[in-house]
Every structure is written in structure tokens, then in C-alpha cells.
Symmetry: C3
Subunit: 433 residues, 3 copies
Amino acid sequence: MKNLKPLLCVADIDQLAERLYPICRSITGEGVRETLTILSEYLDLSISEIPSGKAVFDWTVPQEWVVRDAWVKDPEGRKIIDFQQHNLHLVNYSAPAHGQFSLEELDQHLNSIPEHPDWIPYRTSYYKSDWGFCLTHKQRSALKEGVYEVFVDTQFKDGSLSLAEYFVQGKSQSEIVIYSHCCHPSLANDNLSGLICCTALAQVLSKQQPNFSYRIIFGPGTIGSISWLAENQAHLKNITMGLVPVLLGDSGDFRYKKSRHGEALIDRAVERVLHDRGLNCRLEDFSPYGYEERQFNSPGINIPTGRLSRSAHGQYAEYHSSADNLDFISANQILESITVCEDIVHVLDRNVRLLNLFPHGEPQLGKRGLYGDKGGSKVGNWEMAMLWVLNLADGEHDLLAMADRSKLSFDEIYSAAMALEDAGVVKRLSSRG
Amino acid sequence: MKNLKPLLCVADIDQLAERLYPICRSITGEGVRETLTILSEYLDLSISEIPSGKAVFDWTVPQEWVVRDAWVKDPEGRKIIDFQQHNLHLVNYSAPAHGQFSLEELDQHLNSIPEHPDWIPYRTSYYKSDWGFCLTHKQRSALKEGVYEVFVDTQFKDGSLSLAEYFVQGKSQSEIVIYSHCCHPSLANDNLSGLICCTALAQVLSKQQPNFSYRIIFGPGTIGSISWLAENQAHLKNITMGLVPVLLGDSGDFRYKKSRHGEALIDRAVERVLHDRGLNCRLEDFSPYGYEERQFNSPGINIPTGRLSRSAHGQYAEYHSSADNLDFISANQILESITVCEDIVHVLDRNVRLLNLFPHGEPQLGKRGLYGDKGGSKVGNWEMAMLWVLNLADGEHDLLAMADRSKLSFDEIYSAAMALEDAGVVKRLSSRG
Amino acid sequence: MKNLKPLLCVADIDQLAERLYPICRSITGEGVRETLTILSEYLDLSISEIPSGKAVFDWTVPQEWVVRDAWVKDPEGRKIIDFQQHNLHLVNYSAPAHGQFSLEELDQHLNSIPEHPDWIPYRTSYYKSDWGFCLTHKQRSALKEGVYEVFVDTQFKDGSLSLAEYFVQGKSQSEIVIYSHCCHPSLANDNLSGLICCTALAQVLSKQQPNFSYRIIFGPGTIGSISWLAENQAHLKNITMGLVPVLLGDSGDFRYKKSRHGEALIDRAVERVLHDRGLNCRLEDFSPYGYEERQFNSPGINIPTGRLSRSAHGQYAEYHSSADNLDFISANQILESITVCEDIVHVLDRNVRLLNLFPHGEPQLGKRGLYGDKGGSKVGNWEMAMLWVLNLADGEHDLLAMADRSKLSFDEIYSAAMALEDAGVVKRLSSRG
């Protein structure tokens, strides 16, 4: 077994983010592969390649996109837009082009953000063959009439789409899928933050034997998750829920977007963790736009899948622009996001159902040393948690339901439940998958 | 086929309202028949007559009421209350009477409205044999002591109760009943407005082949709908819902009173239309008092039936008085009410369920020309509507449910659904009746 | 049949409270027995004795506690704490002790309330063998260094736990259990108030033949209800719900704590009574802490049981202290509490389901003399109640459901229902147990 790098502290995270940031990723090709190779230094990833042209449900795996160079020269022959300077300058998946263009012709291929004149936008043209450049609005506004030379030295070639996964075998076959997209070029929050969180979470899980099995997947957006689902159809029956952790490095409050089901176990667990942490957070109903939760929640797949993020896509100014850079994220915020993900896993794994073995009236807790012995004083959370667990340990309620009804935290309920189990007062049933 | 009059514009509506207003209607008799004859100029009505004395459920069809004349003369012999001047002066269904009465005796047969001293109230005595007059409170207060002569030249005779209906055969046998009462004398909002709306709606439906079948009924209140139900018992199993459009000519906001069921398809459709129009409106829970929805929602009939009105019965000062006259309603308000009724029919008829034929992940909309092709910009309502339809096209959700969940309008959802059907991505299931 | 004392007026209640107040009750022993003997002057109680040492579910019936004397003498030999002065001075269930103690040693056995320096707290040590005294904080603060003599002349001996019950045979076997605890020494609101209310309620029930059967139980807290349940296991299947009326003598608003079920018939009945009386009151969700509702709502017993009180345990300053004395309660407040309990019984007993015998449309109420006969005036609550009863008399809705939906009072609905039953329009179905 190879020696894996740790991902535990601010320095580890900063180092990984800095290495990943400059790579020009796309939905297929070397950028993704280079990214997955770096992540393999931290995690024993299984990488699979789906060949170009393969049908995956209603889609076809695209060709790989190769970029060698891309620039625009002004009428004086000066290189004024240069892919080598910033990979956002070239519209992602641009087709090859070379020629002379008037300013008017060129302008139809340019993209900028008038509201943020110093930022370069991020644009793609995955499903329509075209080429284009992105630049700051300041630079665009200064372009003068004249003839510009455009050179886009790209190529589409048969190859494959890369998917990486890390599997943690739990006690149960029931499996939770965690998917974070790896197809964006130099954008830090979207989604180096998600990749780092999921890598760190996988490291933590690799050291445990959890109750559920966990499958952490790194792949491109849309076509990536569709390909993975198409390639793993026979396996989907084992997957009981999913989580999409993305955009987790900025300073915004946490947001959780519920699964299409809306009250699935993943929804209940994430909401409980955010509630118990006392954080400001925002719970959003499912909608079919977003990241890979779109595919997992589609009616034919129907795996209840939520999305955890901080500032959501399209909800912050820096989204999909050069301002979503390493300064926009912080390792401490990513570390906090990792602990939230860990808490979610802990809650899912500890969420058992119990059977009260002394269900007729209350069992006598005092003689088992579990209860305060002096009548008349106020009862504390510890006693309340035990009483709630005993009252709801009817095989129907799981610990999350007990926490909800008692208005106590999951940890308080869990501690009481374990003490009662140790005392032989309740018996653990298999958790609800 | 006879040449029918149109009912399309302000002039058409004003003309019809002016012809109907002066007629002295009651629950039976010539006034109703004259009214239905006029409506027959606009619609090929089927008219049926239920003979007096016939048992209809717990009730008996009453005799016809004939009014020839009715007046009160003051001690000086001057005719001071005269049915010929205003048909509200005589309590509807008054028994014959002739004699001399002291002011005290007479006063027990008089009705007026102290709060509105210039208005004549509308009163009936359908189910107790009595006679009475209605007058302004100003006139009543001025009556002096002395002997008054009363003459009520009315007659009860065996005849029949008149019901008119217009049936539109749809593709489905599942039928929607629409009932508006025609038994009130010179009251404009209550209910010439409803008669005109339903007539116009029937004209529109007659030019379509809708999905549902529609049965528009004009009949008296209470005994009319009870008679219709009793006479059509074998047919009731086809009727899946009902609507009572009444009091639709005044300037008030729309009000919808839900069916006893509360979440029946008729309720969902009307609420959606009022919501999508962005109108101020008021949704009211069912109660067993009101118009014909009382009978349709009775436990033994149990046809979910809502009521659409503007200002509700008893909720406006002019209600059941001579102030509910042609000045109180306006043709433009009736026209708006007609368009709301048309929208309800459109929503009901378009509310299909769909099956996503590419349910595993999202189908690729771009290759079918249905989706924007440039990544990075914000997604619009059109794309969101398609994504929602695809996500919920599982055969369980109808388009109304999709509109509710997506917070988009029914029209947006419907347009997207049709585009996806045209593209072969979804398949229409039979709508839920 | 012996001559029973009445419990009808302020004087009756004051007299009973004054007799019960000084008795030193505990979970077992002569104090409880003396209390039940006094209550037997008002009610033909059946008293049973469960012997010490008997296993009752997870518990064991404890020995009886005998107190002969208990005091503390100061260094000068003056008796400064004396059980004979106030029975709260001795920690209830204190073990015997006699010896010399330094102030520091003594202080570990003392209890007082710093926030209320003039009150003596009430403390127990039922399930841990220890001794202790309670005193005012003012007195405790004034204690000087020196050697104190402690004398606790108590004894534990085999005996029995006393339970009293009064049973009212109703028309139905379905039984409602009412439990009020009798184990607290000189505390007035907690729970002489509950004992008096339940005694008065039982007197009222004894003069009726109600529909449900009622079993009123007086017993100690926790071990008392557990013992009763253990001894009556074969009988529990007849018990369909329960009520715990306690702490009903103070001036606070009524509080109702719902059963674990939350929407059981007992919950619906109590909420309706409090609502219809227009009282300020507080509805609380079930929690597993409190009085005997804890045991009845345990998962293995699962008898939906609510708790009616005024100020709840732990929610008023005087709770479990010498300030919960006869001045803290008033007979008028207890009388009001009794009438609330009576109303609850009345609602439970009158809450039938009905079948409309004329369910097709409305039956004609006018010909049965049940309805106003002059059209045009506003409809009143009486007519509305009849219409609601007719509309919901489908065998599914009980009268409580009709009151909820109609927003009318239970009495209005009940009166209308009885009038309709008398008129032969509706038929009574057996009530839902």
C-alpha cells in the first residue's frame, strides 16, 4: 500500500489547492487526468475511462479536447488575449480557428462582464461547435477598429472520459454516493473546494469501518455523472442516498438543497447537523437545476440526493469568473466544511433504531446508576434524553426522529441511547437503510 | 341549426342584461321560462319540466306561482306600494290576500332596510304560506295611522319546475357540471351576471372539442339543483367535479370557495388560474351554506364542487336589495369573469400527466434544439420549466402539481411539456379525471 | 350504602383541604392510608395493598417508611430544626441517624432555596438510602460553627403500597382512566388540588350512567402507577385513554399536555373544552417528564394520556416548597377546574358519529320546523350547525371533527345533532372508542 499524503491542516489544503488551481480542466482530457493523478497522492483512487463515442443513456461520451495554444493579436500584431496567461481566456471546448477578423466579427466571439470590468468570465461551448474568447470588460471596451488575428490551436480526438472513485466498505451493503465535479478549469471555489473536502472526507472514512458503505466519486459535471450512472446500472439498487458537496471554500453560510424526495434520510441527517451546530444556514427545496443532484434525482434513477454548499452557484458575484480564485477561498473555511461532512457521516452511521426491553412504564434508571437520585431538583438534558429514548424506542423511531421530537441534539440522544444500550435497557435494531 | 346570437362584447352583454333584468322570476313559473327562452337565443338549450308535486329526494316540486297584480292603498285610497313599479315590492311567492288592515297589522307584513333607507329589500316566502310587501325604509317610516287596503292577486297552480341545460361532449365521458341559478327577480349581480358568464362560457366550449365533457345547467336555487340531481341519479357517476359561477358582475375581487373535499381537481385548477393571473383574490374553505355547491357537496352526492364569485352573498351592502341593479354590475367586469372561467376550462383540459421516456438522468435537450447552448449564463424560466417537467414526468404528477412545485405558471409548464412531447422526450398519459 | 359527604361548594373544599394538608404523606405508609381514609368519606373507594418486595415490572414495591421524630440541635442544645413543626423539614424517606456533626458535615445534609430565603424546600430520597433536612435559607445562613446533634427516628419496615380506585360502569366497556397522585406531604397545589378535583368528578360521574366507563385512581407517583399497571395488565386492553388532573388549585391559566399520540380522542376533547370556554390556556406537546402520564404513555403500555393542570410542575416559584400551602390555592379555582373536568367528560360522552338518512342534497328542514322560513336574512349559528352536521354526517366525522371544521362550539354542534336525530334526519352510530 502506497504512502498517502495527509490532508489535515491549513498547509495541506493550501498546498493541494495551489497545485490544482492552474490546471486547464474540461469535461474530458488531460486536465482532468492530471487532477485525478494529484488526488491519487492522497487517496487510493480507482480510475476508469469511458471511451469517446460510447452511448450513455441519451448522451454520447464526447471526444477529448486538446488545447495547444490560443491567442488574439491586435491590428498592430500584439498578442492581447493569450490562453497561456489565463486558461479562462479561451471558451472551454472551443473548436480550432485561425484567421483575420474585423472588430465587429471578433466581438461576436468575445465574452466579458460589464458589471465587473476587471474580471474574466468563464464560458463553455460543450454541446455546440464554436470558438470564443473571454476577457475583462475593461480590455474589451478599449479594443479599436481594425483587423485582428485569431489563433485557436485546439483539437478534438477520440479518447475517453475519466472517472475516479474511492469506495469504503461498510458493515452494510447499503451505500451512500458522494459526487463532486472536477471539470472546471481555474476556478477555486467551484470546485477545488469540493474536491478537497471529498478527498479529506474519504481519508477519514478509510480509517473507519462505518455502518453504511460510501462511494466517493470525482468526475465531470452532467456527462460525468450520466456516464457513471449508465456504467453502473446493475449496482444502483444498492445506493440508498447521495450527497453532492460542492462550493465549500468561500465565507458564505452553509446551504443545503434537499433531495427531490425532500424528507429522505440524507435530508434529515444534513438538516440535523446544521441545526445542532447552531450555524446560520439556509435550507432550500429541491429544484432540477444545479450540479449532479440533477441526475441522481431524475425519475428513472431516483436516488435521493442533496447538495451541500456555502454560497450557491449563481448566487455570488465571483461565480464563474476569474475572481473565483485562491483568494476567494480559505483553508479554514474548507476545514470547517470538512467537519460538517464528517458530522453528516457520523449522524448517518449512528442513526439506529432501538427497542425498549422494559417498555411497560419506565425502567428504574436509578438502580442502574443512570439517574439523579435526589427528587425535587430540575431534570437535565441527560435525564430528558434518556426518557425520550425510552419513550420512543418502539422500533419505529430512529435517533434522528427522537432528536427532532425532543428538541435535543443528536449527540445528546445518541449518548443517552448508548448508555441505555450498555445498561441492557434497550436493544439496537438494524438501522433503516 | 338556428342562428345564435353572439355574446362577445360589452354591447352584447349590456343588451342581454337589460332584457333579463325586469322579469319577475321565482323558483317556478313564467318568469323563469321567459328567462330561459331569451337564453335560448344564444345557446341551443335543452329544457325539461318537472311537474308540480313530484317527489325529488326529500323535497316536492312546488306549484307554480302566478302574479297578476299586488298593491297597498293608503287611508286616502292612493296606491302607495305597487308591484307594477318594481317586482321586489312583493315578497316572492306571496299567497293571495285582499282586505283592510290597520297600520299595526300591515306593518307585520312589511320589510325594509333601516341601514339603507332608499333601498327596497328582496324577500321570499317559498316554504311558508304568507304574503308580504317590501319597501324603502324612508317610505315605511312615513306611513301614518289609518286603514290600508291590501290586494295581492296571486295564484298557486299545478305546473312544473323548469331546468335548462347545455351539454358539450368532450373526448372523455368524465363530466364537469356548471350550475348557475336563474330564480331571482330584478337583481343584477345575483344572478344575471352568473347566467351571462355561463352562457358565454358555453358558447366558447361549443366551438371546441374539449377533453372533459361539460354540462352547463340553468335552474332555480335549492329545489332546482335538488330536482336536477334527483332526475339524473343514474348519470351522476360520470360527473367528477362541479363549479358554481355566480355573482360575477360587481367590482369586487374574485373569491373562490373550495369544495367540501378541499383539494379536488376543480379546487386546484381554479386556485392556479387566480394565482397565475396575479389577481387579488380570496380563497375560502367550504361551508355548507351558499348556492348550489351545498347540494353537489352533500354526503350522498359528493361531487366536489367549488363556487366562483366576486363579492360573495351577504358580503356586500347591495346584496338582496334594489341596489343590486344594472348600475351595480358592469359588462367589463363580466367579460373579465368570463375569461377567468375560460382559463379554468383550459387548465382542466390541458392538465395531463406525462411519462419521461428518457428518465435516467436528464435527456440531452441541446441536441434536440430545446436548450441554450452557452454554459455560464443564468438559466431562464423556459429551461427551468423543461427541467421540472422532465423531473416530475413520472406518471404521478399532473401539470398542476408541476406548476405548484416549480413555482412557475401553468402556461409555462404546459408550453414546456408540449415542446418535450413534440420532441418525443415525454409521452402523454390519460389525464386524471 | 354509607352516607357520603358532598364536595360541592367552597366550604366543602376548604374543609377537605385543611384536613389533608398537615398529613405527612410519602410513597408508602400511614400518611397515604390516612389520606385515602379521609377521601373514603366522600367516595366508596376500593383500596388495595401491594406488599413490599413485590416485583412490579422493572421495579420493586418499597418498604414502608415510618417517622417517629426528627430534629437537629444547635451547639447550645436548642432544637433548631424540628419535623414536628413542619413535615417538609425532613427529607422524605430519610434513613435513621443519630450523632454529633460539625457544621461542615451537617451542611452536606441540608437543603434550602437561596432565591426564596423564607421557604422550606421539599426533597425526597426515595431510591438512595440517605438522610437530610430542609430549612429556610435565612436559617441556614445563620448557622454558626460548632457541634450539632442530629436525630432521625425513622424506620423502614415491610408493609404495602396503597392504591385506591373508584369505578363508574358506563354503557360501553371502553374505559377512561383518571390518575392523580397522593404521595406528597404538606403541599397544597401539588397535589391536594388534584385529589379534590378527581374526588368531585367521581361524585358527579357516580350519579350518571355515562357512555364510557371511568376509573378514577388515587395512588403514589411513579411506583404507584407502575404498580397499578403491573397488577392490572389483563385489564389494560379495555382502557382507551387516560387523563392526569393535577396542580389545579392555583391562579394560573389552564395547561394541557398532550398524549404521546398527540391527536387522540382525549387530546381532541380537552382542547375543544378549553377552546369553547374561551379561556387563555396553553397546549403543550407531550414530553416524557412529568406525572403519571409518563407511565401510561410508555411504549409498552401506550394508553394515550394527557395531563390537565394550571401552573405546571417546575413552572412556578412556589413549586415543591413550603410556599405551596393552603394560601396558594383557592376553592374557587378548584371549583372551576372541576367544571372543566366535567365538561371534558361531557364532550367525551356526547361525541357520537352520525349518519345522514337523507344524504342526497339537503333534507328539507323547513317542513320539519327546524329552519327559519323567511329567505333573505342572515343565517345564524343554529342553522349553520345543522347544515354542518348534515354535511359531515357520513359516518366518518365525529361531533368533535364537525366542531373543528365548522368553527362552531361543541355544544352548538351537539344541540343541532340532537335536534336532527329527534327529527329522524340523522341516525346515531356507535361512538368511536
